[in-house]
Assembly symmetry: C2
Homo-oligomer: 303 residues x 2
Amino acid sequence: MNATHDIENFYQGLVSHQLIIPTNVNGCYGRGAVFEDVLQRFDALVTRTAGADGAEEMTFPPILPRTLIETLGYMENFPQLAGSVHSFNGDERQAHELSERLRQGERWEDLLEPTDVMLTPAACYPVYPLFSGLLPAGGRLVTLHSWVYRHEPSIEPTRLQSFRIREYVRVGAPNVVVEWRDMWLQRGLALLQELGLPAKSDVASDPFFGRIGKMMAADQTDQRLKFEILTPVISTEKHTAVCSFNWHQDHFSSKFGIRQRNHELAHTACLGFGLERVTLALIKTHGFEPHKWPDVVRKNLWK
Amino acid sequence: MNATHDIENFYQGLVSHQLIIPTNVNGCYGRGAVFEDVLQRFDALVTRTAGADGAEEMTFPPILPRTLIETLGYMENFPQLAGSVHSFNGDERQAHELSERLRQGERWEDLLEPTDVMLTPAACYPVYPLFSGLLPAGGRLVTLHSWVYRHEPSIEPTRLQSFRIREYVRVGAPNVVVEWRDMWLQRGLALLQELGLPAKSDVASDPFFGRIGKMMAADQTDQRLKFEILTPVISTEKHTAVCSFNWHQDHFSSKFGIRQRNHELAHTACLGFGLERVTLALIKTHGFEPHKWPDVVRKNLWK
């Protein structure tokens, strides 16, 4: 009950300060000007921090090819989170029926058909097919901005159905990829701590579906393939992941034939900052009015 | 055939200069760093141009509530363009069936159910419910950034399934709204012409569905409710809309009870720059290498 109270209080504060703009769907709110400014400033800070790494920049839309979701096995692992895009391909008669159903308040979605696209569930997915073949010496490093979708409606303001990820993806020799992941784990912690967030890292797992999924998650934890950086947002007890690190080993490389110069399969790893979550963590920690935040935090962001 | 040749040439040039990144779905490509830089610079130019107007800034995700699409009558008018988001709500047994179907290469989407959201088809839609009730004196002015979805796969690089709109929405007294629209029609033309684009404005209509839709489009043209700014992108003969102006009269105000201080229904109008289309128009006009563009254009954008 206390947790629900904390959530409600934080949500109401965000709304009353015009940081977020409610709609009638949980996890689907708008962002006000001040919220958006903080988010963009944090993203720019990440860019400055990693600038010398020389990552290739790419931007993908919030949709991706349906065949990519199928190839990646997303529907086997996370069907409950997926977003499949359906549209109307019918004729005048079917359009008339659709209109009639709407007029009668009846469901109409069975008149639609799947399109060639789905919503992007992870910012890095569109990149892996581009790595197919022999990598350049040293591998590749890419950075991405993307809106991602997760079908998990919730009253908790940190659990959004649609949100932005600032992502980095590294592909290359296994040791290079792991060292890069370890470097970023320290860098990400330092970056968030310098903004006054009591951030900590921990081993984590993905929300795989069902009973088999539970075993996959346990295996992922055992192998230390996923880490998260967490910080208190809703309450001091409950920490929320604001940055996530995944070492995929050759999971993607084997699907797309991504090879090192010695023709062995490459490894991949990615990390993503949840831009809305970082923004919410900053607001929770420093207050609803960013112009009153501590000087050191403001200097880091509005530099 | 010549038109197809022009399209193919332009597309190949965009790809070979790493301005766009192909996927296996038409109208669903990624954007390279240089493309994205031009797009962001143009967006910033719009912000500078309109800065003194003092618009409220809002950002919405690429999804919106399904009930909003229903309330706005979008499925009656543009069902062929809509994107409905469906997900999996089933149990272990159904998840197993889904996996089996995927393994067999069979369709699996009928195992999904509609969610509470759809893809945003127009950047301004989420705003109108917020105007419900009595407006402040003088009305309101809002600016938005949004990814929008249109189900119209095409090989033409200007016709995207997912793209960004920089939008302004004005609500208030009818004469105020029309004057604002007229002011922006001139301002938008000047802004694009100063970037070296041979832009012109014209009366236009929306792609309403079917036979009744054709009549609605004719009516919209007769009443001069929609204007577009067009410029050559694919070829000098075929001009492409890069900015669109809609005067809705009391269409949205009547649905959401948006009233002036005198309690009469307000009018609304909106305008949107298609950010990818403007970027493509600049590339087509000035070449595939923005660092070689004319000084006057570069100064306007990289100021």
